[in-house]
Subunit: 68 residues, 12 copies
């Protein structure tokens, strides 16, 4: 591992699972960020409506190489 | 967001996944608590028996509005 | 609960989910450690390649009884 | 300090300040809990709408003596 | 481990030791809570009066199974 | 809650109070970020000059929806 | 920033707000410490009497330059 | 609780138990500090020699009122 | 302090107190590890059966010198 | 200290030391960010290849003033 | 990243710097562990004798692949 | 290890490295404190001016024996 990396923080959501919420955030980030390398889960939360879990929310950090 | 919320702590269990353990705890809480709004994962643990994961256990906080 | 337990730290990986990564690490540990009793998730990370999550990595502690 | 105390977790909200959010939660708790003794701030968050802070939210623990 | 557990937070006190403060809180909880299963120490504090430790205070979480 | 959110970290300052420092950072962010949804306090510090508090500084995370 | 700084820990109290509790502790420290430079909030607690918040207590670290 | 308190950090030791290590540190502090009010355990460690625990070491914070 | 040390994690149990649980784990470790130097408490938990504390469990790290 | 600051997170790397890894990240940031004011180390990690440390990696937060 | 990794905890020491203490622990580990992949700093401490720093001590976790 | 120790908190600075910042704080402490025994790093920060690291700042705790 060499060079410099930037770390950004996102919250991904999914009605299904934490893993899907992670994938959803990464898929969104892909539209503007290149060279993503790793993610780390910071926090797992979710929404409850009428007694049911309606969203899994994962706060994650994503690291990507700054390329010039 | 206005009013006052109470936060309780539960441990849900599931033989399948962390997401199912969360759903299971929320389903149980639904029997006595109304107006649940969000949950937050505090801790993820599990049981192992004879070399196999037999339970996923998620400690979670659940927030609900105090309604009067 | 009586006796003394040892706690080891492993990182399990899976292309599918955090739960599978946990199971994978426990399955590997089973080859050398007996009497595993519980696990606790320490950290959840993962790898991203070409904009896609390619691995879920779970750092977990595993406790097992020291039997003599 | 003697006896046993119970600790509950509440989230108070206020459009004005963190201090007011604390007072609001304590005032609400007063309706059902007696002998409250201390509080501790766990977390300070808030809501933003149309670029303005619309609510200060304080998660706090409140300790009160179990009296019999 | 299966089913759902609730976790409550108590502060036990004792003039003698941290272990006694734990026992004291559990004994008190026993009057209203059934099926207690485990406790975890959150914090250890105490009071000092005229240069002497007059109380050991242990904040602990207690987990018990929700039985229906 | 659905979609993906980005979280940025700012430090707001105010000569008056922590709440004002939060508002000041949010007001500044408003110039470049749209759809802000929540903030969370990370850290509260301040400056002292000639024995007087001259600035309240609040490090806060701000979450906003990525809209396309 | 050069030289060496000492960091002390104080608890300030105020019946009004956390900001006032900080100012109160700094004002007290001013009587014996010179060259104070910054403070950092460690903990926010408070007292409740007869269902009302009677004191805001802020534990804070204060840094000051060691001058010779 | 009113006024300003100072918090100092000590490490007490005892060959017997954590509680005795706390008492020992408080007894020592009594020689130079007046008006001690509370302590909080920060850390519990110890020394092992020839396979035996020879000292329990408790790092604790002690708060006392600044009286003028 | 020179050389390299290894740190292992154990859970000791005792029906009596946290201090005894520590001693019990160290006594067990003594059978396979030499040159133990220090321990640090990571976590204090316990079991409750029929409303009584039946075991104090201390998770501790033990450091020992790697001798060659 | 007045105005609003933004905080970004970077990972700097160096084959030599943690201090060099910090300098390397700051030097890289200099290309796109002006008015950098301070940094804070979040995490220190590194890579090992064939039994040798080949990279020191420092995750750091960098604060800079938002100037308009 | 695939497969399972084990994580061990070591304390390296050096009279010179934290970086040298890390290298020293890795060099020692090399004698018994193969396929080391990364390290993470857990804690940095040191010894002082007669007013001088005589040892830098770094507690670090080292991860290596379990190869079969 | 026996007796009672006091722990103070200092911030050392150096234009060169974290290790030098530690040494600098210890050298300063030596002027007023005797019997220093160990230090522990609490935090590593630094100043940036015109895009260059101009100071490494290490917050450290120093423990010394109270001798009478």
């Amino acid at each position: 591992m060499s060079g410099t990396y930037k770390v950004i923080e996102l919250v991904g959501t999914s009605p299904v699972s934490f893993a899907e919420a992670v994938k959803s955030a990464v898929a969104e980030a892909t539209k503007t960020v290149r060279h993503m390398d790793w993610f780390e889960v910071v926090n797992e939360r979710g929404s409850i409506e009428e007694g049911k879990v309606t969203a899994f929310q994962v706060t994650l950090k994503i690291g990507f190489k700054i390329e010039r």
